[in-house]
Symmetry: C2
Subunit: 339 residues, 2 copies
C-alpha cells in the first residue's frame, strides 16, 4: 500500500539558516523567552510565520522531558454532568498553558486503564480521572510513577493523589431524609445495578439508610446501565412492580428521572399525586419541564474549577488540600407532594 507522501515540514534549522542566526535564537524567539533583542525576535517571528514554521511538540517534549499535557477521563458524555465539569476545567488549563486531552471509558475500568497506559506514554504533566474506583493496576502505576493525579466527582479518604467531588453517600442520605420527612415510606431507587457504579451504590445506600431510620419499607433497587439516559430511566421505571405500591421513585440522574416520569404518566400514574419522582444533579433541563423536578443540585462546574486550580497548584509545587468535598443543594421542585 503506497503511503501518502509526507509533506516536508520546515524545521527550526531552516528558519535559523534563512534568518542568518543560530537555532537557539530562533528557539528563544518562538518560546518568548528572555535573551533575544526585541528587534531580532520580531524579525524571526515574522519570518517563521512566512515559512509556515510550526515547532514540533514531540521534539519539544522530548528535549524538555515534559509535556504540558493533561489527560481527562470521563465515563461518558451522554450526560450533561461531565461536559459541565469539563467546561469548568478546560478554560483554566488553557490559560495556564496546558493542553488537555479527553477520553471516555463507558464505565469500564479496563478501558480506563488502557487509555491511561497509552496516554502516559506521552509523559503528561497530570491525569484526571472520574470517580475513585479504578483498576488497581492503574492506581499502582500512577502512584509508582508519581504522576500528579486528580480524581473528580467523588471523594475518598484515600485518594491516589488529589480529589475534588461530592460525598455521594452523604448527599443520598440528605436527599432521602428530605423525602422521608414528607411522609414517603415505600421508596424505590432506579439506577445502575448494584456493583456496577460506585457512585450509584453510595447514593442508594444513603437513601436507604435515611428511610431505614424512620422505619420505612426497605429500599428497592431497579434499573440497568448504558444507552440514552432518558430511555434508561423509562425502562427502569418499567421494571418496578407497581403491585408493591411504591410511593416515591429516586433516579440516579435528572435525565433518567424525566424518562421515568414520562413512563409513569404513560402507565396512568399522576405525579406527584400517585407517585413521587426524585432526580439528581439539578440540570438546566429540569427548569423547562412542565413540573419542576425535585432533585439535588450538584456543584458540577465548581468541581471542575476547584479541581483544576488545585491540580495546577500541585504542579507548581504549592501544596493543596488532598481531599475537597463540595456540598450539593436540595431543589424542592414539585414532583413530590409536600406532605
Amino acid at each position: 500500500m503506497p503511503k501518502t507522501p509526507e509533506p516536508d515540514r520546515t524545521t527550526i534549522q531552516d528558519v535559523a539558516r534563512r534568518a542568518g542566526v543560530s537555532v537557539m535564537t530562533v528557539s528563544r524567539s518562538m518560546r518568548g523567552v528572555e535573551g533575544v533583542s526585541e528587534m531580532t525576535r520580531q524579525r524571526i517571528l515574522s519570518l517563521a510565520q512566512d515559512m509556515n514554521y510550526v515547532p514540533s511538540s514531540s521534539a519539544r517534549a522530548l528535549a524538555a522531558t515534559n509535556a504540558n499535557l493533561i489527560g481527562i477521563s470521563f465515563p461518558t458524555l451522554f450526560n450533561d454532568v461531565f461536559p459541565d465539569i469539563l467546561e469548568g476545567m478546560r478554560r483554566i488549563f488553557d490559560q495556564a498553558g496546558y493542553s488537555s486531552v479527553m477520553d471516555t471509558t463507558d464505565y469500564d475500568p479496563a478501558r480506563e486503564l488502557s487509555w491511561a497506559e497509552r496516554f502516559l506514554a506521552w509523559r503528561p504533566a497530570a491525569v484526571i480521572l472520574t470517580g475513585v474506583d479504578h483498576d488497581p493496576e492503574l492506581r499502582a502505576r500512577l502512584i509508582r510513577g508519581r504522576i500528579p493525579t486528580l480524581e473528580i466527582w467523588d471523594v475518598t479518604d484515600d485518594p491516589i493523589d488529589l480529589c475534588v467531588g461530592i460525598d455521594h453517600y452523604r448527599e443520598g442520605l440528605a436527599l432521602g431524609r428530605r423525602i422521608a420527612e414528607m411522609g414517603y415510606r415505600a421508596p424505590v431507587y432506579v439506577g445502575a445495578p448494584p456493583g456496577m457504579d460506585h457512585r450509584a451504590d453510595m447514593r442508594a445506600e444513603g437513601v436507604s439508610d435515611a428511610f431505614r431510620a424512620v422505619g420505612a419499607r426497605e429500599l428497592v433497587r431497579r434499573g440497568g446501565l448504558g444507552g440514552n439516559s432518558f430511555v434508561v430511566g423509562a425502562e427502569g421505571f418499567g421494571q418496578i412492580d407497581l403491585a408493591d405500591a411504591p410511593d416515591v421513585v429516586f433516579f440516579l440522574t435528572d435525565n433518567m428521572a424525566f424518562g421515568g416520569m414520562m413512563a409513569a404518566q404513560r402507565a396512568g400514574l399522576r405525579v406527584p399525586e400517585d407517585i413521587g419522582i426524585v432526580g439528581f444533579n439539578g440540570l438546566d433541563l429540569t427548569t423547562v419541564l412542565p413540573r419542576p423536578l425535585t432533585t439535588m443540585a450538584s456543584p458540577r462546574r465548581q468541581i471542575g474549577q476547584v479541581g483544576a486550580r488545585h491540580l495546577l497548584a500541585r504542579l507548581n509545587g504549592v501544596s493543596s488540600p488532598r481531599i475537597t468535598c463540595l456540598p450539593c443543594e436540595f431543589v424542592a421542585g414539585s414532583t413530590v407532594r409536600s406532605q
Copy 2:
C-alpha cells in the same frame, strides 16, 4: 516556585542493559516487529513489564517522524449528536492503532483555529473537523501542509479533503415539504440566529423554500444560541409572536423542540391541535416522550463510521470518495396533525 521532582522514568537503554542486548532488540520486541527470536522477545517483554518500562511516545513520534494521532473537533458536547458521531469513530480508530484526541470549540471558528494550531504541532496523522465552515487560515494551513482532513456532519462541493455528512438544505427541504403537505401554512423556525450556524441556515432555507413553493406564509426565524438546548428551545419559543398565529414550529434539534413543546404547553397551547412541533435528528429522547416527536432522523453513528473508514483508507493511500452524502429519514411522530 519549586517544581515537583520528576520521577525517573526507565528508558529503553535501561531495559537493554539489564537484558544484556542492544536497544534495537528491545525496540523491535516492544513494537512486535519481525527480527527477534520469539524467546528473546518474551524474555524482554516480561523484563520490560517488571521494570515498568513505557516507551516514550514523543521520542517515537520524533524518530518515526509521524504520530499515530487523530484530532477531532466538535462545536459542543451538550448535544447528543456529537457524542454519537464520536462513538461511531473512536472504536474504529482504536482498532487501527490510532489514538484520537478531541476538543470542543463552542461554535467559535477562532477557537477551532487555535486548537488546530496547537494540535498540528504534534504532527498528527489526520484532523477531523465538524462542518465545512472554517477560518480561511485553517483551511489554508491544512491544505498547504497536506494534512489528511475529514469534515463531518455537513457536505460541500469543495471540501478541504474528505467530507462525510448530510445535505442540510436538502433535508430541510424534504422535511418542510412533508409538513407543508399536511396543510400547514404559517411556519416558524427556531434555531441559531441567521449567520451564526451554517447548518441551521441551510436547514432553515430548505424549510423556507418548501413552504414558499406551496404559497405559504414566509418562514419566520427566531431563537438564540448557546446554553442548555432544552432551555434554548423553550426561550426560542418564547420569542415567537403568537399573535401572528403560527401553525407549526420547526426546531433546530430535538432537544430544543422538546423544550419548545414544554413552553408551548405552558402557554396554554395544545400540541398538535393548536400548534405543530417539529424537531431534527431523531434522538432516542423522542421515544420516551408522552407524544413521539415529529422529526428527521440523522445518520449520526453512520457518519462517524463511514467517515472513519474513508479517512483510514486515505491514510493508507487507498483513494476514497471525497464527498459522501448520507440520507436522513423522516419520523412521523405525532406532534403535527396529519391533515
